[in-house]
């Protein structure tokens, strides 16, 4: 192995901090409280807030998918917006052109994106660190243009996008479209969250983390590095695809301009703010990318970008490990209080 490669492995190890797998999740008690809050809030707030919370869950899913890739297997991606777009378009096209039930389009979106991510993972194998980030960046910049291509226009609606019909609550349940969609999204999110936690605790999850911590050691222990790296890409893309599909249903519209590189950067930002490698942080990261721009705009309309930058800088400066750090501090405080 050459010296250059060695350096790369070392920096990679530093960039993504090793998180023990138990620290990747929340305790049962806290999980139940968070769940109860998520279930109860919609009963008391306006439809608009319910919609925002639905988007919160959807972006949380997408951030979590990136978290599995980066926090779990140590690979970077700035191309998540491309997978999100593919998922969104898969759902939208199946619903509007094939008349498929919205719930059924989600697994299809997931599978399509898994395949897409897995295939993209193949060439990406040869790249690592910043080079991989650049390759995925290319994917993200190419996607909006691909969606505009004339060949696909019949299905994608080209630059005009596609309008999606919002589903009603089934079985005559007495709730509005927004509330139903929220609970539907919540159920899907919980399912995927549990599956992800289990995945990371499983043999495959251990293999991911072994690769993240030291690729050479992992392969020496018999981990098929190539397979697990591409698998991580596939799983991450698949979950992002489901999030994209849900996003399309919630927003009722897909257009190339909704899935630019900006979205990929937002998701990356969400991951860092939530804490790399800490899955529950995804929802905090998602809240950051949804609400902080609104706060910044409230402070100054002309300089909203600058205000956002300052807020982001403060977060990185004060809590470099994101929400995970806050959670750990809170836990220690609680323990101290108990002792007293």
């Amino acid at each position: 192995m050459s010296a250059a490669e060695e350096v790369e492995v070392v920096t990679e190890g530093q960039a993504v901090e090793a998180v023990p797998k138990r620290a990747m999740t929340l305790g049962y008690g806290t999980s139940l409280i968070v769940l109860a809050v998520l279930i109860l809030i919609p009963l008391f707030v306006k439809n608009f807030i319910i919609f925002q919370m639905t988007m919160l869950l959807i972006y949380a899913l997408a951030v979590m998918a990136l978290n599995i890739l980066t926090g779990g297997s140590g690979q970077f991606s700035l191309g998540q917006s491309a997978f999100y777009a593919v998922g969104a378009y898969t759902s939208a096209i199946l619903m509007e052109h094939a008349g498929m039930n919205y719930a059924l389009t989600l697994p299809v979106a997931g599978i399509v994106c898994f395949g897409f991510g897995f295939l993209f993972g193949q060439p990406a194998l040869r790249l690592s660190g910043v080079y991989l980030a650049l390759a995925t960046f290319a994917l993200a910049t190419a996607m909006p243009q691909l969606l505009k291509l004339g060949y696909f226009e019949h299905w994608t609606g080209g630059v005009q996008g596609l309008v999606v019909t919002k589903p009603d609550a089934p079985f005559g349940l007495p709730m509005g479209q927004d509330m139903w969609l929220y609970y539907f999204t919540l159920a899907v999110s919980i399912g995927i969250y549990l599956a992800s936690v289990n995945l990371l605790r499983s043999r495959s999850g251990r293999a991911f983390m072994a690769i993240r911590d030291n690729e050479i050691a992992a392969s020496a222990m018999g981990v098929d590095v190539a397979l697990y790296k591409t698998l991580a890409f596939g799983v991450s893309a698949g979950i992002t695809g489901v999030a994209g599909g849900l996003g399309a249903i919630a927003v009722q519209f897909v257009a190339p301009d909704g899935y630019t590189i900006q979205l990929a950067i937002s998701l990356f930002l969400g991951m860092v703010v939530g804490g790399v490698g800490w899955l529950p942080g995804s929802i905090v990261g998602s809240a950051f990318i949804i609400f902080v721009p609104n706060i910044a705009e409230g402070i100054s309309k002309g300089l909203s970008g600058a205000v956002f930058g300052v807020l982001l800088f403060l977060v990185i400066f004060l809590v470099p490990h994101g929400a995970r750090q806050v959670a750990i501090v809170a836990q220690q405080l609680a323990a101290k209080l108990k002792k007293n």
């Binding site: 608009f48 243009q145 257009a255 909704g258 721009p293 309309k301």
Partner: protein
């Protein structure tokens, strides 16, 4: 006396009918959410950040204009509260902001939200909620569709009708033209191209010898111009936004390529396109206009232009007066005030749409002489007239009649 009794009966019936129809609208004030005795709440969504942030100046000008209206006593005594949010030109964010405006801020209507993709994203929602999506800031053709979307209305002459006007001109004056088209690869560029091809009709395939598109993210379009010149075309239709339009004009001159040059009116500004490209390079370019270019010296002493300058001096002094968007926003704001004034004390969403759909020959300050705003229950395209202009010396010269090319969505 049965005849007289009958007449009396009829008379009283008419009286009763009259009373029934007139009294509520005169004596009673009617309000929907977002309007009251003292206030009218208006929502707006603009790309203050992101790739299209240059258009954010439209929102700022409108905010300034409503400050002026409030300072002068408001609309029929009611103050305008103008709430404008940033969507960064991303459709999912637009949906969030529109819902915030309608459900949380409880506005009466959303006015002049900008961009085709963002407006497409909220069109269905607005129509389901029956909240006016009034005078959207996009030239796409699809906003004129009162049957499908009775709560959505456009404003400016749409892209397709503009390119149809150029196509007609070419067919009439240069029937054997070989045409090269450069367009921006998005909804705006493609809409123009479609109108152009429709206008040329069956001859489109044989007349257009070269077609090239560029991405808005490209730093320069020089290579595209070189390619188009190589096609040997003698007519050039330039569907580009200001920065690229200036590049194209300059590059044409550098290559010594002098086709009959049609420039879309999006980039007709002297201050931000022609001047940077060089006056000598822009001679004889043909474009079209519906409002007065503030940087054009021929309007210096024009009454509307003086009023516009006074408004900016007082309420928006930092505005860039060479930016056509400032004039655009000034005109469309007058349009909204006109509609709300016509609503009187019946500030329901239904009446807003009704009044917006019954504008007759209205001429807000800033439009070209002869261009008028007209709508009806079946015509949701308020502005649809344009005049051809040709660049001479340092100014646009208008020629020909006021033309109209109404196209529905």
């Amino acid at each position: 006396m049965p005849a007289i009794r009958l007449r009396l009966g009829a008379f009283s019936a008419v009286l009763a009918l009259l009373a029934a129809t007139t009294s509520p609208s005169v004596a009673q004030k009617k309000y929907d959410i977002g309007a009251s005795d003292s206030e009218i709440k208006i929502g707006n969504i603009m790309p203050y950040s992101g790739a299209a942030s240059a258009y954010g100046v439209i929102g700022k000008t409108e905010e300034a204009y409503f400050r002026k209206i409030n300072a002068e006593g408001g609309i029929n005594g009611r103050k305008v509260t103008f709430i404008s949010y940033d969507d960064a030109y991303t459709p999912p964010k637009t949906v969030e902001q529109a819902r915030k405006l309608v459900e949380s801020d409880e506005v009466l209507l959303i006015f002049n939200s900008l961009g085709t993709p963002p407006n497409s994203a909220i069109q269905k929602y607005m129509n389901q909620k029956k909240v006016p999506q009034l005078f959207v800031a996009t030239g796409a053709t699809k906003w004129n569709d009162p049957r499908e979307f009775p709560w959505t209305m456009g404003w400016q002459p749409n892209y397709q009708s503009e390119s149809i006007i150029y196509a007609k001109y070419i067919l009439k004056n240069k029937p054997d033209a070989k045409i090269a088209v450069l367009y921006q690869n998005d909804d705006y560029g493609k809409d123009y191209l479609k109108g152009f091809k429709d206008g040329l009709g069956a001859k489109a395939a044989s007349m257009i010898v070269a077609e090239d598109s560029y991405e808005v993210t490209e730093p320069t379009i020089d290579s595209h111009i070189v390619r188009l010149k190589a096609s040997g075309a003698d007519v050039f239709f330039n569907i580009t936004t200001p920065k690229f339009a200036a590049q194209a004009i300059k590059k044409n001159a550098e290559l010594n390529w002098h086709p009959l040059h049609f420039l879309n009116n999006v980039s007709g500004s002297i201050g931000s396109v022609i001047k940077p490209a060089g006056f000598e390079n822009a001679q004889d370019i043909i474009s079209s206009q519906y409002f007065k270019d503030p940087t054009d010296p021929q309007w210096k002493t024009d009454k509307a232009m003086i009023a516009w300058n006074e408004f900016l001096d007082k309420y928006y002094p930092e505005a860039n007066r060479a930016d056509a968007s400032v004039m655009y926003a000034y005109i469309v704001s007058q349009g909204l005030v006109h509609v709300l004034k016509a609503c009187g004390d019946d500030l329901t969403r239904e009446n807003v749409m009704k009044q917006a759909a019954s504008i007759r020959d209205y001429e807000p300050g800033g439009l070209l002489p002869g261009v008028k705003v007209n709508t009806s229950a079946t015509d949701f395209a308020p502005l649809s007239q344009l005049q051809l202009i040709r660049f001479k010396g340092q100014t646009w010269e208008r020629f020909g009649d006021i033309l109209s090319g109404d196209v529905g969505g």
